[in-house]
Symmetry: C2
Subunit: 472 residues, 2 copies
Amino acid sequence: MKKQWLLILVGSLLVLTSCMNKANEPKAKYVFLFIGDGMGISQVYSTELYLASLNGNRQTNNLNMSKFPVQSYMTTYSSNSWITCSSASGTAMASGFKTNNGVLGKDSTLTINFESIAEKAKLAGYKVGILSSVGINHATPASFYAHQNSRGMYYDIAMELPVSNFDFFGGGGFITPKGKGENQPDAYENAEKSGYTYIHSKESIQNIKKGSEKVLAVNPFLLSKAEFAWEIDNAKESISLAEFTRKGIELIDNPKGFFMMIEGGKIDWACHANDGAASVKEVLAFDMAVAEALQFYKMHPDETLIIVTADHETGGMIIGNENEPNLGLLMNQNVSAQEFGRLLVNVQQTNPKATFEQIMELVQQHFGLGSDSKGLALSAMEIAMLKKAFDETFDGSKGLDPDKEYLDISANKTIPDVAVYLLNHKAGISWASNDHSATEVPVRVIGPGQQYFTAPIDNTDIPKIIAKLMGL
Amino acid sequence: MKKQWLLILVGSLLVLTSCMNKANEPKAKYVFLFIGDGMGISQVYSTELYLASLNGNRQTNNLNMSKFPVQSYMTTYSSNSWITCSSASGTAMASGFKTNNGVLGKDSTLTINFESIAEKAKLAGYKVGILSSVGINHATPASFYAHQNSRGMYYDIAMELPVSNFDFFGGGGFITPKGKGENQPDAYENAEKSGYTYIHSKESIQNIKKGSEKVLAVNPFLLSKAEFAWEIDNAKESISLAEFTRKGIELIDNPKGFFMMIEGGKIDWACHANDGAASVKEVLAFDMAVAEALQFYKMHPDETLIIVTADHETGGMIIGNENEPNLGLLMNQNVSAQEFGRLLVNVQQTNPKATFEQIMELVQQHFGLGSDSKGLALSAMEIAMLKKAFDETFDGSKGLDPDKEYLDISANKTIPDVAVYLLNHKAGISWASNDHSATEVPVRVIGPGQQYFTAPIDNTDIPKIIAKLMGL
């Protein structure tokens, strides 16, 4: 009988030990780090309310990332400010170290290069993929492979990319691939010389097969030759971030495992412009990329960790003003503020004598503003705001550059800016500024190690936790 | 040998079952539900940044509630709006059912009374305590014991309080205890007739002992005879929410267990006034009440559940504008906007010819504004804003009522309002409105059942989860 009790004890201990081991040392072989640039809590919630409005209900967890079992917050401040920039926060999430705003992959004295979690993973034999919907040498993706004194050193960053030896780069292209003066050796050619297969047609990207080594796959349809078109502008020729994610998974999936960082880069840009409808569409596209990772998770649930977070919040977005929130009104906007700027420049060039009434027709056509039936009637004061912008920026001698003035906006100066403000206001969205805020950002996690994310973390904790889980 | 394996199996199953039972059915005998009225994510974070500034570091988890192991979000919308009011959200958190804004403890057709978690707990033999720093018949506390068509029916709510038979009511007094016309039977006397011990002196509250049944303990130092003074006004005569919490625990602690709801009611009011410094001080006082519950938790960690959440966010607070956030600047404010209004009314009455310069001295004295050495120099435009408010509201014939105009503010109309705006702006705080927002609120949890709070919940989930954990 004594022996039997002993056996029961042994059995108990075996189960307990195995349980405890499992609980204490979860292992993540496949790690996805999704970074929604500028995606604060309100950017996600506004998208949920938009979907709820489309569905005619009050269900607020329609996004893939909203169904994750663990969701908490993250602080994002940098070494020299409570309000971080993308390179300081990217560096923190890549290396586990804070640095000053503007610095990339280095410490604030610019003397130490930080090793990123992607570099560590690569060294340990994992495959690595870096994806972004904006320039692949922009701050967030660059944080994972580059080390430069300034995030603005795009050419140096581009030239540093092949040094990483990472297995897959996908999405946006190089910003200034030949340097600012366009007179330096081409960064794409440099990548090819370093052994990268550089592909940039829809066909070649779709056809590239598993087993291809070191791929740089750039969307053939880009704005400013570097970043994806706005989702709201519905560029059918573009390859989506979700498609790049699926392709990336196909290419770097291997028995040893992988680390993949996927950035939704234009949520931030939409919010710099206080363009709520554009933000919602960018979040939706980002969430479709998350869906691809979830598909993979379902095949390897015990070994796949997905983290969806942000580098900072942009715009100080809040759902709440004197109007009842009705995010469905954003449906009436069918163009980004930037693209509407282009359209106005076009009109200005072809029909410089265009009247305010003609411009108002365009405003109604692209934003629904002025339409009673859409619930978007304009008050005299609101029309006066548009008229002021028209007088100052359309009728005047100054031709506005949509790639600058329409994104780098100051309070309600241009017609697209006022149109976006009015539609956002009627939908119930307020904005605090055109810049980043200090507010905490959401962290949503599924997979082994999710228990490390039940309480708020700092952005420097991200690579530390991943390293622990990947055994780096 | 076969038998031995069977025994190992039995042993394993025993441990597994016991583990699973423990994991699946945690029991909470003592439940604290803390509701910070209007306390969104930014209200907490601004307080953290204020403490970090005082401490001269960037540590952002100095609050008791910030150290909780599980922290996620909660949606708060009501039956008829994405932006809830306190009674609709209070009703949801008390009963598990949504209702329309303005309704209290009933459905939106006003025909069904919802049973609250506090009523259920009382029926099941638990002791119940309801505490608030504002009127004890105000929306949030009332949601747990009253059922009225409108939250504004303060007298009917006050008369309904004793019907609950709850064991302890503490904090604020009754709003309009004799009805609006002050001609109805006194609600305090009614409570006494129903067997409540009504105490309202510091001494009687401090001296009341465990074993006393049905206590209504009202702070002797109240504004408008109902709510606590502002923390920032430093009313030493007042009994703090933390002291009431400690006393409440002492009185209702018993072997069967208890449910206690504690509201920090004036965070909301500070944020309606966009008064960041007042909000920070209210959050700090609220957190001191949380500390009392944590003390209790430490004695009964396996049986005590503490939930700290909010009914909604107020003001659309964001930390981020063109200034580097420096919440420490709020230290220079030593008076609430409301109390500063009182002070100005006083000056107006004693010295109606007071000059703008004299008023500016007061502004500097109470907000630091205009002081170079404090980093609060004023620009010509900022001085002009104060001058405008002075011309329109001080110098004019209209005597402003600090209990109304200084809280029910419209954009930058009064001197206190402008002073608060300027200080907040310099500290890096932006506000979207003077009303509630739709944004999700924080939920911070420690204790058995905390695993139910790792992902966002709806406010209706709160009583459902508590009921499950308390076996109701």
